[in-house]
Symmetry: C2
């Protein structure tokens, strides 16, 4: 009469242990490209806390908003932002229709292959390049231009399509968050309509969850059919102080998780950190010169300086690409 309850107890304990092992294994499997370490632990620990029903840190699914920078956080950004590579390729493609560019900077330098001289004109030169290549067509036409470029352009270092250079560990993280009831958003300095054509396939993020920089657009009738024209005028730059502004405007809820990689993401991380309850702030630190690039405080692209100091001071999670990630890009998988 005594043995039976003990056996039942043992069976119950064993079942509980198995369930625990299964849960841990499942969580570990959701991030197979992450090495076991502090970064992975902090992510998994946070997700467990905010999803534990009845726990102190529980967050209802509707409030599980996660925001991610794109350039340098979800895909690579070297040797230049990929959208700039797109713009430069467009200048070359459009040159035959613009004979005047041969005598006009920044286009003259660009067409001679001298990117450095072209960009010596600073923001004004960059704005001219962007407007000539991103405006003056309908939104539907621009989408086709982006798709065609992604289908043909190759990255100078890897020789692969730009949209294959997404970070596999971050793709897994996005999927893991969504499996745990999070809504995943991009909040990027890049152009919204440059991202939307490919991010759903690459990251599982739908168009309505892409926040970014915009140029002005205009609704008009063309032969009785409505179109939206892209105008050569900046509407909004989604960078630095612009990121929390855009999060408030487009999402209207404060995120509980934010991931960036540069000083341009600092204000978004601060805004996320300032909310009540459990919070996760993460930075991707580019530390792998062999498999990707190594850069931070002195980089012209994706400078990470003040945000790194603040992350260290406040205990935010800093992902060390070299040591935390088993692979960087999906194409490394065998």
């Amino acid at each position: 009469m005594k043995a039976a309850p003990a056996r039942h107890l043992l069976a119950a304990v064993a079942a509980g242990a198995l369930a625990l092992i299964a849960a841990v294994a499942q969580a570990a499997d959701a991030l197979p490209s992450w090495n076991h370490g502090k970064a992975k632990q902090s992510i998994v620990g946070f997700v467990k806390r905010v999803t534990a029903k009845g726990g102190n840190d529980f967050v209802p699914p509707a409030e599980r908003i996660a925001v991610f920078d794109n350039d340098g956080t979800l895909w690579a950004e070297q040797p230049v932002y990929f959208q700039l590579a797109f713009a430069l390729d467009r200048v070359k493609a459009l040159a035959p229709q613009h004979p005047e560019w041969k005598g006009k900077e920044p286009f003259a330098s660009l067409l001679k292959g001298d990117v450095k001289s072209a960009l010596a004109g600073g923001e004004k030169a960059l704005a001219e390049i962007v407007m000539e290549t991103h405006a003056g067509m309908t939104t539907a036409e621009f989408e086709i231009i982006v798709r065609d470029w992604l289908a043909t352009a190759k990255h100078p270092k890897t020789g692969r399509p730009y949209n294959s250079m997404v970070y596999q560990p971050m793709v897994e993280l996005l999927r893991y968050l969504r499996a745990n009831g999070f809504k995943t958003y991009i909040v990027s300095g890049g152009g919204v309509e440059f991202m939307r054509p490919w991010v759903e396939k690459a990251y599982g993020i739908p168009p309505e969850q892409v926040v970014g920089s915009t140029i002005k657009t205009k609704f008009e009738m063309r032969d009785g059919m409505p179109v939206i024209m892209r105008l050569a005028e900046v509407d909004f730059i989604d960078d630095k102080e612009g990121k929390p502004v855009a999060i408030n405007k487009f999402i209207g809820r404060r995120p509980i998780l934010a991931f960036g990689n540069s000083d341009g993401d600092l204000q978004m991380l601060q805004w996320t950190a300032a909310g009540g309850g459990a919070r996760f702030m993460g930075l991707v630190h580019h530390t792998d010169a062999a498999r990707e690039w190594a850069y931070d405080r002195n980089s012209h692209v994706g400078r990470l300086d003040k945000a790194l100091d603040e992350a260290q001071a406040k205990g935010w999670t800093v992902v060390d690409m070299k040591n935390d990630w088993k692979i960087i890009f999906p194409f490394e998988k065998r």
Copy 2:
């Protein structure tokens, strides 16, 4: 040996018939405040077509985007837009802090209760009222102001809180669409941050699915804590041509269903209609002077003229409030 299969066949037919009756009843039940008629038929027929797997008109859930105007489409808008009523109440509440208003239009007239004279100054007067009452505080402070107003203000005709004056049949429609895999959005000329505090409870529409007019905002640090300040400057007016522009910017997919009630919604309906595949364009026609208001072509609020002509010419669905709706407001329910 013959009787048994026949019985089986009969049972199968009966089961099929019962399933069919149940399905029809369920669909009907999803819109209990709608009378049986053309409008209800066109809605249910459209939803059945786009959700029928394998059917010619099937639309994958991710693309089932539905957009709704708010004022006059989801809640009432008479005798003045409710956000204007809010602004006028704010002027009264703020008057003690602004002794100079007694000698300054449009405030002087407003404080005397003479709304007509105050608004005689046209858009400029309106902009001054909006900026004085909607800007100069943080987004968090503004949210509290809106919530407090809704908790205390009463509509002059019904004596009820403004947010109880939502249209019960439209609330049912929103719920019915979501149950069928649609994502429901507000695309309103009203202010985004005036709507977000109450629309989730009223309509089941979360903050991130509210598109509307905005004023500029600014991220700043206040005693080491980040805040977003509301500035006295217009950012975007989400009306007429602005609606498809905002749909493209915020959602990035063309809706397959759009509902409005005024000429300010025409371009949104045109943009929706111009997509491929099955489409639904609807207008709420205010025809019920007894239970709500009756107005269209000559109204100063929610004028419905060109859009009514286009709806009739193109066979869009026009909801006749008087005949199509069993009840208007939730408080009519016994």
